[in-house]
Symmetry: C2
Subunit: 187 residues, 2 copies
DNA sequence: ACCTGAACACCGTTCAAGT
DNA sequence: ACCTGAACACCGTTCAAGT
């Protein structure tokens, strides 16, 4: 008869995430993850399709950490909060974050985040037919900055200056947002 | 007496770049690069420190492809041209481009690009003490978009829509640029 | 159904040896 | 100085076998 599994997929993900946080993405090895669970590498394949699949699950796990924000009055506040939360998450999982840029955002956590950005943009007065495009642009700007920050491109820039950079980036987006208010597709 | 080398560092870089362009970054293997030169993998180490070093050289090679633009009247035109050239380069070397986000831009090609962006910003009226920060923000936005485009995050978005996204991103930056005109460090 | 042990086809890199 | 051959310590993954 079927024996109960000795460990779950969630435990696999948790182990991989700890490994990534502590020693970087290169340390996330099927062997290392298995060792952390006291198990053979091949045992992982009962819970996970492949290493690529595991990395996808890692991205999902990180995105699901984003707290649900209670509804704020204006749309810009929502967008700002979202950006700061995302930056906090990036700081907690710097090794995993760059992966966000490398795969299409189609799983649950990604879709939820995208929907929240679209809602916030809509509350900013962006017309619905420009919401998708607006979401892509805003998230691209955010991910570009956070990936730069977490994966070494800003390594030489002192932290307090990166904080100021982030504030100015928010301000730049706020100033540029009216672009989305005009009719978006002119054909 | 010292024999002439059978191949040069440039040839190593060229082979690696071809491999990356044709079959993706995963195909850039010391063995594969060596095979393309008709040589043993270990022969590469006479011209290159390590694979990591080779990847750095690859990034440099791609950045050095950027054509020198003749000086245009206004700063914004310079910035726009630069962005379009960068996008062209990204399209030609989609596999290498994401690496740009992952390492600090300190080599020759990167520094030259950064200087050109700073000059263009200055020509846009950005004060000198905000030029560094402005360069970081503008290049972050550009790299964020181009990395997204070349490494799969926009995989589902049809090309003509990505073109329109890019135009709107330029417009958003143009609208937001005045943020840099104000005194940048208020302490 | 879940896990193991052995095996396969790869990696990047070192080292001593050849010329 | 440049390149080779053999070897090392790793990868991710398969497969047949155990329970």
């Amino acid at each position: 008869m079927p024996r109960p599994a000795r460990f779950t997929r969630s435990e696999v993900i948790a182990s991989a995430l700890q490994l990534a946080d502590e020693q970087g993405l290169a340390a996330v090895t099927m062997s290392a993850v298995a060792a952390r669970l006291g198990v053979t590498p091949m045992a992982l394949y009962a819970h996970v399709d492949s290493k690529e699949h595991l990395l996808d699950l890692l991205v999902e796990a990180v995105l699901c950490e984003l707290p649900e924000t209670d509804d704020l009055p204006d749309g810009w506040s929502q967008l700002e909060i979202l950006a700061r939360e995302l930056r906090g998450t990036a700081g907690r999982h710097p090794a995993v974050f760059p992966l966000l840029l490398q795969r299409p955002a189609v799983a649950g956590g990604s879709l939820r985040l995208r929907a929240r950005i679209r809602d916030a943009l809509h509350a900013c007065g962006v017309p619905v037919d420009a919401a998708d495009r607006g979401e892509r642009l805003v998230s691209t700007i955010a991910l570009g900055f956070l990936a730069s920050e977490t994966s070494g491109r800003f390594a030489e820039v002192p932290p307090e200056q990166r904080d100021a950079d982030f504030e100015l980036l928010l301000e730049l987006v706020r100033q540029g947002l009216p672009v989305l208010h005009r009719r978006s597709s002119r054909r």
